[in-house]
């Protein structure tokens, strides 16, 4: 238990320092050291959990996880917001791969289509519409970088300890029984994945589907109402007291 704690602490601290060095701070030094520290932290954190067992699934999972996490780090550390959005798209592709790896086929495809295809393109549209000329100051200097990195790494460390520690405690009767492979193959991993997912989506969750559809409509109307105010002449006094 204490070895796990020490390893988690090492991982969290080096993740915090690495993220702090990598974040845009307006100074040119520290990026290679930050990348090294983040790599060390990710290696330490990955060494805390057991591997999957078969080398093929292990390597596929590790590659997907590395793509996801590294492009997530690149998303928050690049200064140009367009690059941030593109790195986020790569992170989404990694997430979709992780979904597919777990047998969630519909979610893997939906992540690519909805997130990377629609939401990310909307982000890029707005970036093109609202990007001032040249590199803006606020993209090059972040606020309270060290405290933020420390907070995030602390959260990751505590979560890691929880994830790793829960299962290493004595296996009492409160622990959930592990589902065996045959049950999985007959339900979540069944070949007719889409039919079962659709059946539970439009069966048990039908009301939630209706509410989600209404939410989409309301969001559409709200967006049009908000954007429609941009080009109206101001009635005056709206920015006087801010």
């Amino acid at each position: 238990m204490s070895a796990l704690f020490v390893l988690s602490a090492i991982g969290a601290v080096s993740l915090a320092l690495g993220l702090w060095l990598l974040l845009p701070r307006g100074v040119p030094w520290g990026k290679p050291l930050g990348a090294l520290l983040v790599a060390v932290a990710l290696g330490v954190i990955a060494s805390l959990v057991p591997r999957l067992g078969a080398w093929a699934s292990d390597s596929v999972f590790l590659i997907l996880a590395a793509v996801t996490v590294l492009s997530a780090i690149a998303t928050i550390t690049f200064r140009n917001p367009v690059y941030c959005a593109i790195w986020f798209g790569l992170s989404l592709l990694g997430t979709a791969g992780l979904f597919l790896f777990q047998g969630a086929q519909f979610l893997g495809v939906a992540t690519i289509v909805v997130y990377a295809g629609a939401i990310l393109v909307t982000f890029l549209f707005v970036l093109m519409l609202a990007q001032p000329k040249g590199q803006a100051v606020y993209d090059r200097v972040s606020s309270a970088a060290f405290l933020s990195a420390l907070t995030g790494a602390l959260a990751v460390g505590v979560l890691t300890l929880t994830i790793v520690g829960v299962w290493r405690a004595e296996p009492g009767p409160s622990q959930v029984a592990v589902v065996d492979r045959a049950a999985l193959d007959s339900d979540v991993l069944a070949p007719d994945h889409m039919a079962r997912l659709g059946a539970s989506l439009f069966g048990k969750q039908l009301l939630a589907v209706e509410v989600a559809g209404t939410l989409l409509l309301v969001a559409l109307v709200g967006t049009v109402a908000i954007v429609g105010q941009i080009h109206k002449p101001r009635t005056g006094g709206d920015a006087s007291h801010v």
């Binding site: 993220l19 954190i45 996801t68 939401i119 990751v156 959930v176």
Partner: protein
């Protein structure tokens, strides 16, 4: 493939995504990048949910992720409209511009003042060696362009 190991690995990836998104949301000042980071936190939660769903042999995790996708789409549309409106009012995507936002009768409250940025040009300009002979300047042109 051990199911417990799979769950732990997925939870760890989800935790990392959430933590990285949290750091980005706290520290970046561009409103659009902040919003990307919140989407990244949603991704972390989704990864964890799918992991739990497989572990418990239950469709609930995947169904919840479908609803997360729906809500994220709505949220992206509305938030980007708001960002566009804010950008049109001040001409800047900096979130620190809006830290004085308050009601009319409230006292102003400032967060930590954002330090003025050191503007140093990191782009490397090519340095050319001077070569050749400088041509004679046209007197008329020199007189015409007063800024030369």
């Amino acid at each position: 493939m051990s199911e417990v190991a799979l769950l732990e690995n997925y939870l760890l990836v989800g935790a990392l995504l959430f933590g990285i998104g949290l750091v980005g949301f706290f520290t970046r000042r561009n409103m659009i990048v902040m919003f990307l980071c919140s989407e990244m936190m949603l991704q972390g939660v989704s990864v964890s949910l799918v992991g739990w769903g497989r572990f418990h042999n239950d469709w609930g995790g995947q169904l919840l992720v479908i609803f997360i996708l729906t809500v994220a789409a709505c949220e992206a549309a509305i938030a980007l409209a708001v960002v566009l409106t804010l950008f049109h009012q001040r001409g800047s995507l900096d979130i620190a511009v809006w830290q004085q936002l308050r009601e009319e009768n409230q006292a102003p409250h400032l967060d930590i003042a954002v330090p003025p940025a050191p503007i140093e040009d990191e782009r490397k300009w090519p340095r050319l060696t001077p070569a050749g002979i400088e041509p004679d300047k046209d007197l008329q042109e020199v007189l015409h362009r007063s800024h030369m």
